[in-house]
Structure formats: C-alpha cells, structure tokens
Amino acid sequence: MTAWLVRRCAAAIAIVFAVVTLTFLLIHLAPGTPFVPSDERVLDPAVVDGLRRQFGLDRPLGVQYVRYVVALLHGDPGYSFSLRRPIGEVLATTVPNTLLLSGAALAIDFLLGAAIGLYQAARARHRADVVLGNATLFLYSVPTFWLGLVLVLVFGQHLAWFPVGGDRNPVLYPSLSLLGRLGDRAWHLALPALTLGLVGAGGTARFQRAALLEVAGQDFIRTARAKGLHERRIWLVHTLRNALLPLITLFGLALPFLLTGAVLIETVFSWPGMGKLAADAIFTRDYPVVTAAALLASVMVVLGSLVADVLYSVADPRIRLGKGGARA
C-alpha cells in the first residue's frame, strides 16, 4: 500500500510538472504579447522595452522557464500584468470563492443525483423512470451557462427570489451582522450552485441508475429477495451499498467538470472566482494568470483522482493495491 501510494504520488507530481511545462510553452509561443501597442493603446517603444525588461520577458525562453519553475517551487506563481498585483494574492481571494461554489454544487450534484438514480432504478422501466430519465437526459445535455441564464431570468428577474449576480450585497454587506452576512452569502450562492449542481446531477443520476441496475441483476440480490426481505431493505442496504463504489470513481471525474463549469457559471453570475479570473485574463493576454489558473485546476484534478483512487482501495477490499492490481 505504501509503495503504491508513493508511486502514485510520484506519478501525480510528474503529471503536474508536465502540465506546467506544457502551459508555459503554449502561452509563450502565442503570437500576441503584452505591452504591444494596439489600435487603442499607443505606447512608446522605449516604454515597451522597459516593461519587457522589468518583467524578464526579454530573456531567452529557457531562462524564463527555469526562473518560472524555481519561483513556483517557492510558492510564487508570478505577477499579474493586467491587475498589477502578485498572482498569489489574487488567487488567495478568488480560489476560496471557487471552492465554495464548487463544493456547494458538488453536494447538490451527488445528493440529488444519487437519490434520483436510486428512485429510477427501483422503478426501472416504469413511467416514473422514463419521465425522470428524460429529465436527467435534459440536464445532461443542457449548456451550463444557458441553464444559468434561464434560471436568472426566472428566479432572478421575474420572481426576484434570488440576486442575479455577485457573491454578496455590495452596499449592505459591511453593515450586516455575522448571521446576516452568512445569509447574504448563501442567498447569493444559491442560483450559481444550483445551476452547476443540477447539470452535474443529470450525469450522476444516469450513472447511478446504471450501476444500481447492474448490481440488482446479481445472484445475491435474488437470494435476498428469496429470503423474503422487504424491497426497501434490498435496495437501500444490499444494492445501494454495492453500487456506491462506482460513485467514488465519478467523484474523481466530477472535479474537472466542476472547474469547467465554474469558468462559465462564474462568468454568467459575476462570481469573483478563479474561473472568471482565467476567462478575463485571456482577453488581456495576462499569461501568468492563465498559466497559474490552468495549473491550479490541474493540481485539483490530479489530487481529486488520487483521492478517488485511495478511497476506492479503502472502500473495496477486493482491490489489493501494489500487487499488480493497481490502476495507474
């Protein structure tokens, strides 16, 4: 187990390192550069040279790369050209917002998805299953950002139950009590988290239904039924427990989905997170910010799949890691 874990961690670090290199190269081979005079901005060439020197952009690519990696190892992802602040500082304020949004969405995704999947499987091929099947297919196929816009239209504009954007009330927030502040944050969180969670729940429910039906066809379920056990007990205890394993795999896959969704949903709802930061940085060609965001997202994905693998081995004693049975 320990040897497997060490190997698995080493592989994870190697992947992250490869991602760093890849993103660095892609970004630096881009034709557009910052500080280039454009139609709107006329810059004195001497000023451009000065700025390029100041940020080390005049050095050879190799030197820039080594500097970047060394700085990264010291926990410094660089300096944002457009925001004129250290990226570490920017990320420190945006990443918690993204984690809050993704965490809430993940909870909705799995709780709702697993519940719908269980209900569908227990009534497989009946009317409720077909109706819910179409509903989950809809959620699975809908563009996240479009669902967000529709929810804004219905719940934000027409019913005015929820705010249409932002993460807090910009005027009243500082004057609110602690409880009021928590409520205000939750109120602003509701729509974006619901959008992201619903879209995820569509996929989770489809997956969970298939996993449950696969277990339900096995002999030990027939035995349980033959013993005269109550249907509810068969589904909740015997089937569900065994169908929870694939959900752990799904958890590893959910992270890239949530981070992708975050880029779009944060843009729709003006949620001040890492996804919106990255989307905005593309237009200012703020290389270090895009690289740092992509890097951080990859680290989260790699960590997520690592955690899923470990959880899987803990949850399923049939998988003996390190004895040739380990999955890379």
């Binding site: 890849l22 892609l26 196929s141 563009p143 981070l259 843009t267 895009v290 965001a293």
Partner: protein, 308 residues
C-alpha cells in the same frame, strides 16, 4: 417570412418524421435495429437530428432573410416573435430564425468535424498504444494522463488565445486536438483485450504485417465503442463550441453559431429573452437527441450488454 418559407419548413419537418419512421420500418428485420428502436426516445431523436440536418443543408430555402443583415435598426430592434419574424429579432435587428437556421450549419459542422478529428486521432493513438504495447504504450498513455489532467476548457482557453481572431478551421482543429484523450484510452483497452486472442495470433502466425493485423482484424472489433463515443462526442463538442462562443472566443461574429447567438442575447435576457432562449433550446434538443441516439446505439451494437 413568406408562405413559401413556412411551406419549406413544414415540408422539412414532415420529411424528417417520415425519414425516422421509414428507417424504423425499413430496418425492422435486423436484430441491431430492433435493439436500437426499443429505446422509447430513439425514433424521436433520429427525427430531431434529421430535421436539423435538413434545415442546415437547405438553409437558404428556409431562412427568410440574410442571417447577418441588419434589417431596420430602429423599427426592428429586439422585436418579439411575430408572423414576419417567427423567432423575433435581435439587438442588431437581425432575423433570429435566419440566424438559427444558418447557425445550424456552423454548429453542426463544427460538432461533426471536430468530433471526427478527435475520434480518428484517439483511434490511431489507442491502436498504436494497445497493439505495440511496451515503450510506445508508456509514452502515449503518459501523454494522455497529462491531457486528461488539465480541464479541457483551460487547455482551450490557452490554445484559443494563440490567435486573436480565430479562423473556423483552427477552432475545429483545436477542439479536436484537445478531445481525443478519453477515446484513445477506450480503444487501447479494447485492443489490449483483443490482441491476445487466438485469431489475432493466427493472423500473425500467417505472416500478416502489423498494419494488416491492426486494420483488418483488430480495428473492426473495436469499432462499436468508437461509434458510440463518436455519437456522444458530437454532443459534447457542440456544448464546448457553444461555451467558447459564449465566452467570446469561439465562432467569430457576425457568422451565426448557436453559442454566439446566446452570447449576443445574454445582456438583454430580461428585456428580450427570446434572443437567448431559441438558440439554447436548439442546442438542448440536438444534444439530447445525440445522447439518446448514443445510448440506443450502445445497446444496438453490443448485444452482450443488457439493455438498461
């Protein structure tokens, strides 16, 4: 919108319905088709896809106006649906139905072509990795590990930012080149399980060169999961194109795509919701149909797997 345009629209709708029902009737004899159409939504999904493909092909006949023409910038700005403009007009007084119809061309073409790039590349990599094993497998699969580790949207954000104004062909290539990782794993797994079978050994023993063994004996057996992943792939590529266009880095205006139509309408969602709703519904319908067809194909092409 003249009666002629309505007539063409209805004719295409009828053609799609007849085509889908005809397909079901015409293939009634085969086992695979029976498993395919056993899915309650399969015939309907085929009809929806046929309808949108027909609309895309016959776009100039269905669209009452030029999709990028600004008709009357004072009178026709953000008008709600009417008989003249069945889906309304947008902020720039362009007819939304015409944009939707020509947008179908762009969105469907981007989806199909990018999926073809992704699936063929994934198939080639999967075949090479699975068949030659050893070092090639190691190198290619580590590459796939890296590709899967970066959420695709970030890869695309970086790649797309390489060009300031993205040509459509490059967009298709970029989406394709970032989408083959999962397919290659799928094909590799299939090849790994095949290459040890006796009939492949027999082909090798008869002196068939690797290329022949791969193309004639291994690939045909790995084709079912490829077709399914292609059907599901078009849908996910269409969603991706829409997302990129929504962020303003996909299909460049004024060329209409369903994604940049939503982007055009998002600022006026409160005052002119029809500008956002119709392209979104079109995407949802087509992607739902593609996913339903993908599910049905999976059951149809793999008789061993029990239908769920």
């Amino acid at each position: 919108m003249t009666p002629r345009h309505w007539a063409v629209l209805l004719a295409l709708l009828a053609a799609a319905a007849i085509g889908a029902l005809g397909l079901r009737a015409g293939t009634a004899g085969s086992d695979a088709a029976r498993r395919f159409f056993r899915h309650p939504t399969a015939a309907f999904a085929v009809g929806v896809l046929l309808f949108f493909v027909l609309i895309a092909v016959c776009a100039p006949l269905v669209a009452p106006y030029d999709p990028s023409a600004q008709l009357e910038i004072v009178q026709l700005q953000n008008r709600p649906p009417s008989w003249m403009h069945p889906l309304g007009t947008d902020l720039y007084s362009r007819d939304l139905l015409s944009r939707l119809v020509f947008g179908a061309r762009v969105s469907l073409a981007v989806g199909t072509l990018a999926m073809l790039v992704a699936v063929s590349l994934g198939a080639v990599v999967g075949l090479l990795a699975g068949y030659f094993h050893r070092w090639m497998d190691g190198v290619l699969m580590r590459l796939v590990d890296v590709g899967l580790a970066v959420p695709r949207i970030f890869l695309l954000l970086i790649a797309v930012s390489l060009w300031s104004q993205l040509p459509l062909a490059i967009l298709v290539l970029t989406i394709g080149l970032t989408g083959w990782f999962a397919t290659s794993r799928l094909v590799r797994a299939e090849v790994l399980s095949r290459r040890e079978l006796a009939y492949v050994d027999a082909a090798r023993a008869l002196g068939a060169p690797p290329a022949r063994v791969i193309l004639r004996h291994v690939l045909p057996n790995a084709v079912a999961p490829l077709i399914v992943s292609a059907a599901l792939g078009i849908g996910s590529v269409m969603l991706l194109e829409a997302s990129l266009s929504f962020l303003g880095i996909g299909v460049a205006p004024p060329t209409p795509s369903w994604g940049n139509m939503i982007a055009d309408g998002k600022e006026q969602i409160a005052t002119a919701p029809w500008t956002t709703l119709s392209p979104g519904l079109a995407i949802v319908l087509v992607v739902m149909a593609l996913n339903a067809v993908g599910d049905a194909l999976r059951d149809a092409l793999d008789p061993r797997r029990e239908a769920t």
